[in-house]
């Protein structure tokens, strides 16, 4: 019983923690959200653009999220845990590749490696790179700043405002759900799983409460002159550093994309040591 209660509190804490990270101060945190957003989108685009059997050219791309984590002093373990949370899903997506794709990709000391395994590994690496980077981006920018950035670069307001509200109220809804579950648990002396009937009632109540709240929020919005169009006062200023951050990284990505740096380093190492 106790386990369940602390589980929800934990989720709540975890959700808020990522947000709290964005309140820290570092040179990465100070980079304009728009610059970080654009750089990261370009990064994601490059990582995804590789073909399904690519591994070694992907590896240099880990520099960008690592750089952000180190310079912004984010807790590495926390971010890794977050990434691992979703990883079973990705493993499910890729796991059939080794089964169906049995072409031999290369042989190493008599062990045949099939292309299925290679593409599986490639999916996993791409997953780690992209998801880590997005989580890190939220951690160094803050969710609402990202929504502003999206708005600035032309993402339709419907999406950015939707996300903004989602993020504002997800804490309240989770808290409400946590309170309800806690109340149920405290009246269930012998721990047992939630029956479908009780679950339905809990979920239904949560929905009704959310609808009521939405109504009250809408009311408070129209009382302050809301006319269906949310106006956001952007207070971000651009500095030269933001531009340098963005253009340098994009140059690095282009370099990594078209120049096989792993191959180069490998050959260099061989040359020096053999």
């Amino acid at each position: 019983m106790e386990g369940d209660i602390s589980k929800i509190d934990n989720i709540l804490f975890n959700l808020g923690y990522l947000d709290l990270l964005a309140y820290r101060d570092s040179e990465i945190h100070r980079v304009n959200p728009v610059a970080k957003f654009i750089t990261t989108v370009v990064y994601l685009f490059f990582v995804i653009s590789f073909n399904r059997y690519e591994i070694k050219m992907l590896l240099p791309f880990s520099i960008y999220p690592l750089f952000l984590i180190l310079r912004a002093d984010l807790p590495f373990g926390y971010i890794l845990k977050k990434v691992l949370y979703v990883s079973p899903f990705v493993i499910m997506v890729g796991i059939f590749n080794p089964i169906f794709d049995r072409h031999i990709f290369f042989s190493f000391n008599g062990i045949n490696i099939t292309s299925g395994w290679v593409s599986f590994l490639s999916i996993i690496i791409k997953y780690f790179l992209t998801v880590t980077t997005v989580i890190v981006l939220i951690g160094v920018t803050g969710f609402y700043n990202l929504c502003y950035a999206m708005n600035k670069v032309g993402v339709p307001k419907v999406f950015s405002v939707q996300l903004l509200f989602l993020y504002r109220y997800i804490f309240l809804i989770t808290e409400e759900a946590a309170r309800m579950t806690r109340a149920r648990e405290l009246r269930t002396p012998i721990s047992k799983p939630v029956s479908l009937k009780v679950y339905g009632s809990l979920a239904g109540h949560l929905l009704l409460r959310s609808i009521n709240r939405a109504e009250r929020i809408h009311r408070s919005m129209i009382l302050r002159g809301f006319d269906g169009n949310i106006k956001i006062a952007g207070r971000t200023s651009y500095r030269l550093n933001d531009f340098i951050f963005m253009s340098l990284w994009i140059l690095v990505f282009i370099f990594f994309r078209f120049f096989d740096i792993s191959d180069f380093i490998g050959k260099l190492v061989l040359k020096v040591f053999l």
Binding site: R168, M221, L223, R224, A233
Partner: protein
Amino acid sequence: MSHHIVQAEDLHYTYPDGKFALQGLSFLITHGESVAIIGANGAGKSTLLMHLNGVILPQKGMVRIGEMPVTRETLPNIRRTVGTVFQDSDDQLFMPTVFDDVAFGPLNLGFPKEEVEKKVRETLEKVGALHLINRATHRLSGGEKRSVAIATVLAMAPDILVMDEPTSNLDPKSRRNLIELLKSFTHTKIIATHDLDMAMDLCTRTIVLSEGKIIADGPTSDILINEQLLHKSHLEKPLSLQGCPICNKK
């Protein structure tokens, strides 16, 4: 300054489920008055407040803000004149940061950007919350949320403040700060509340509602010592008017 007047004339409202919420209310609140609206749960307090800002339009009778009757056509003006502070601050603070939330109203009124920033700072300063300007609204304490919620309303420069249970869920210190803050405002104030001690401190006049009707309307100091009346409307004498339980032990 006639535009600070709030007048209700024979106000009726019946909810869609057939429940009578208001049954013929009439009153006149003049410029600068502080009025407490008290009564049992379900007496019609919140329904009345929703009539004052035009969220609900009267089914019968009329509400006037200043010279203006509350109708669909006058709503933009009414909403600028009447600022409403909700009971649950989380309903009021819907933007991600304090700055954006306070800026929401002025931006909708079409203020230019620099003016908005100035207005936000000014208003937050007034409620003593300027240090919160960059904080996320969901991370504020209850007392901070209430102050910011009031700032979001003040930023629209209303003449009349309508408040639903402003002191609920506040710790005693935050409650006291809020009362002092509200005392410093010169607006016409209409406050629905169960906190009769606050009503004593803040409001010179009290209107008592019961089952959608006004059963008393007069100086707060007279009404809050009328035990029979209070009992009838599920209320109790304010603590400050009750004898000290320790010194006055019988």
